[in-house]
């Protein structure tokens, strides 16, 4: 009995250690943490990975143990012990998932509340219970940058109303909360920046508000996340997070430029397609004309 307890405790310790370790590794599976929201989400993900690893190792460990130890011999046709149930055990393992789920749901709620994404608020708004993400970082929780996002098949266009600048590349000042007003001209598009961990569908004909705070200077990728037709995969662009001087410089420079048609992958692929007569090509919606913008890469 004594040795059995020691062995079980040792195994449990190893499994706990491995779970904690996986929880730490989990951060490395994710893109750079380029927004205040990303930090919150990653912490939650790390915790769930640790819990998940523990459960997975526990269950598969039990199965493998039995496969090794309790195989029937070749000519053994006897039965196992006819144990049909155990009320105490069954109550315990109903309680364990209940408690776990309660904890995970509470933490998820707190994380979501702190993110304060805005997003669609029709019908009713969730009252705020937690200080938002910016309380911890010392950043202002008031959005200072307002940008209009225009999506269409298949291009992103960003409009900076203060300076009346348009661009197909999204520039953002670091450490400032941004407020996006997003619209779609045709179908549902999904605004998604993996490095920021934020995503929001843009549903026509509504205007969708969205907020987040970039915290790391760099160049990231904005992708369409909601399937939007033929050239969906090509509906991508860059997001440039820079310090306020660089940001202002870029904005002023762009303002001086005359609008020109931006290069557009959907449009150019479509043009080529009209020329080649391959066999298996089916009809497609014609891409919207290349957007006219002050700035494009």
């Amino acid at each position: 009995m004594r040795t059995k307890i020691i062995i079980i405790s040792a195994i449990t310790l190893v499994v706990v250690a491995m779970s904690v370790w996986m929880g730490q590794i989990a951060y490395s599976w994710l893109p750079p943490q380029a927004s205040a929201e990303a930090v919150l989400i990653d912490n939650l993900f790390s915790l769930l990975t640790a819990i998940g690893t523990f459960i997975f190792l526990g269950v598969t460990g039990a199965i493998i143990y039995n496969i090794i130890v309790h195989r029937a011999g070749r000519y053994d046709t006897s039965d196992g012990p006819p144990i049909e149930g155990n009320i105490k055990l069954e109550i315990i393992w109903t309680a364990i998932p209940l408690v776990l789920v309660f904890i995970i749901a509470t933490l998820s709620y707190q994380t979501y509340d702190k993110m304060d994404l805005h997003g669609p608020t029709e019908i009713a708004h969730l009252p705020h219970m937690m200080p938002s993400a910016y309380a911890d970082t010392g950043l202002s929780s008031e959005a200072t940058t307002n940008i209009e996002v225009d999506s269409k098949q298949w291009a992103w266009v960003f409009h900076y109303p203060d300076k009346n600048v348009t661009s197909t590349e999204l520039h953002l000042p670091v450490d400032q909360r941004v407020h996006l007003t997003m619209r779609s001209q045709d179908v549902i598009h999904g605004f998604y920046i993996p490095a920021f961990r934020v995503k929001q569908d843009i549903i026509p004909p509504k205007t969708v508000d969205f907020e987040f705070t970039p915290i790391k200077i760099g160049r990231y990728r904005l992708r369409d996340s909601q399937y939007s037709g033929t050239y969906f995969a090509a509906m991508q662009t860059d997001v440039v997070v820079e310090n306020s001087e660089d940001y202002d410089r870029w904005l002023n420079q762009a303002k001086r430029q005359k609008p020109t048609p931006a290069p557009n992958q959907a449009a150019s692929e479509y043009a080529q397609r009209e020329q080649k007569d391959a066999i298996a090509i089916w009809d497609t919606v014609v891409p919207a004309p290349s957007p006219m913008v002050n700035y494009h890469p």
Partner: protein, 546 residues
């Protein structure tokens, strides 16, 4: 013995065995096998589409297929896998097994049963025709979200999307007919003495799953009909240009299509519950709780659908509400997993092919459940929603668990269905290829999704190449894995060793009759006197048989 002298006799003679499978038979066993074989044909077809897609995804550029073709392929892959494979194959298994397991001579409505089956080939024909109409098949994904699904670049009245909607609606009608039949059969036709807590766990799960079909399918069908009206007759339920609301469609769609995942996984749970006791030679641990938790899942599954719309037009309070209900489902599910592990615990394990598939399916399901909880957590879902992480998650459920359970069931009941034994070596080869292929194909989808690769893309950024190459190799292994399976089934059926009535020494009414069973199943209606799964106990199952 000349046949000429007795022409009357000739017409009465039963047709050659194989021919009955091509007839409008009313025998639930024939219909069951018709479903199984037809659905397997769809499985192979949709699998070929999947391998072509994985071929495209070996490199980042869209170089193998035109984007329109890729989009049509993933649309048809998903559609055919769900409406041509998962539902029909499980209906087929249930059709074959339920009457035998409950001691009935047939389903409650044999004619309805046959009619429901014969709609499935029609669904297949409709989808096949859609490849031939100008403009090609639907390219809007198996969700068919408007406004994308309302865009009709061909301008034709008969187009791929139109045929797709007809096919889905027809498949829904067929499933509703099936559900009425199953529910009636299970509620009304159990043998004398078979109280609810003497009914096998598989039958419980079929009942739970079919109840979902009854309450869920009307919503899907209504959504499909409204979309068809928008597409074809200019109504504006969902078209934003004319004042419609595209999110409304998402509610109709997921109100059915989330519960549908339990229509798929519940019978798989039932199969696990049948197989573990036989190959561990122990009673199903906590049988009553396992049985009742199926019905609890049916109830909860109706109030979680918005977790598919966390990043859609869903306000915060609704996101939080549905996060909570979704997470609750893991409680009855967890109970089942624990019960299976306890059933195996300390048993006399025999690792025949059905047991291998059941164990592999259980391990895969545990993995899928863990990523499922992550998806249920709204903040995490906001990052990984519509990325390959989700694709990895549901393929672990659908391939790793449901397909594995289906294979387990086919191997386990093959001797009963055909009277022949399958070849164990080929079966094991099939299992190992499937298990390795599943891991290699679907595991890499999780990291690449976390990195931010969206689903449904024909091309991707070069940073995602490594994981995609691995996944494609896994996909091809899965393609190869069906070869030993097909070889095994065909050759064993023709020339396998006779199996006897109960080669596994299993307990259950279906094992008390001949293999294959006579037309009317039971010469004498069995009278059930004990709970199922009496392994290790010496009590008989019935009073008058075996």
């Amino acid at each position: 013995m000349t046949t000429l002298s007795n022409p009357q006799k000739i017409t009465k003679e039963t047709p050659p065995k194989w021919r009955k499978y091509f007839s409008f038979s009313l025998d639930h066993k024939v219909i069951g096998i018709q479903y199984l074989v037809t659905s397997f044909f769809f499985f192979l077809l949709a699998g070929i589409f999947a391998m072509i897609m994985r071929g495209e995804l070996i490199t980042p550029e869209p170089d193998l297929l035109d984007r329109t073709v890729y989009n049509a392929l993933f649309t048809m892959h998903g559609t055919i896998m769900l409406f041509g494979w998962t539902f029909p194959v499980l209906t087929g298994l249930s059709n074959y097994l339920v009457p035998l397991m409950i001691g009935a001579k047939d389903m409650a409505f044999p004619r309805l049963n046959a009619a429901a089956f014969w709609m499935i080939p029609v669904v297949g024909i409709l989808l096949a025709i859609s490849f031939l109409v100008p403009g090609g098949p639907s390219q809007s994904g198996w969700w068919a979200y408007p406004p994308v699904s309302l865009q009709n670049p061909t301008g034709n009245l008969i187009n791929g999307q139109f045929l797709w909607l007809l096919a889905v609606a027809l498949s829904g009608v067929s499933s509703i007919m099936g559900a009425v039949n199953f529910v009636t059969t299970i509620v009304r036709m159990r043998a004398p003495g078979m109280t609810w807590f003497k009914t096998p766990a598989f039958v419980w799960t079929v009942l739970a799953a079919q109840l979902i079909q009854l309450y869920g399918l009307p919503a899907l069908t209504a959504g499909a009909v409204m979309l068809l009206c928008d597409l074809t007759f200019g109504t504006a339920f969902f078209d934003p240009v004319q004042g419609g609301n595209p999110v409304l469609y998402q509610h109709f769609f997921w109100f059915y299509s989330h519960p549908a995942v339990y229509v798929i996984i519940l019978p798989a749970f039932g199969i696990f519950s049948e197989i573990f006791p036989v190959y561990a030679r122990k009673p199903l641990f906590g049988y009553r709780v396992v049985a009742v938790s199926s019905v609890v899942i049916t109830g909860l599954s109706g109030i979680v659908w918005v977790h598919h719309m966390f990043a859609s037009g869903t306000p915060g309070w609704m996101r939080m509400l549905f996060m909570a209900t979704t997470m609750l489902i893991s409680v009855p599910t967890g109970i089942k997993v624990f019960a299976w592990v306890a059933t195996i615990w300390g048993g006399k394990l025999r690792l025949d092919t059905p047991m291998l598939f059941a164990l592999g399916g259980l391990v895969n399901f545990v993995f899928a459940g863990i990523t499922g909880i992550m998806l249920a957590s709204t903040p995490i879902d906001i990052h990984v929603n519509n990325t390959y992480f989700v694709v990895g998650h549901f393929h672990y459920v659908l391939y790793g668990s449901m397909v594995f359970a289906t294979y387990a069931a086919i191997y386990h009941w093959f001797p009963k269905m055909t009277g022949k034994m399958y070849y164990e070596g080929l079966g094991k080869l099939h299992f190992y290829l499937s298990f390795i292929g599943t891991a290699l194909n679907f595991l890499p989808m999780h990291p690449v999704g976390l990195m931010g690769m969206p689903r449904r893309v024909a091309s991707y950024d070069p940073e995602f190449t490594f994981w995609n190459v691995l996944a494609s190799i896994g996909g091809f292994i899965l393609g190869i894995s069906v070869i030993p399976f097909l070889l095994n089934m065909v050759s064993s059926w023709i020339s396998g060793k006779p199996a006897g009535n109960n080669p596994w020494r299993a307990i259950g009414l279906e094992w008390l009759v001949a293999s294959p069973p006579e037309e009317e199943n039971f010469e004498e209606t069995p009278i059930v006197i004990s709970e199922p799964y009496g392994y290790g106990k010496k009590e008989p199952l019935t009073q008058n048989m075996g």
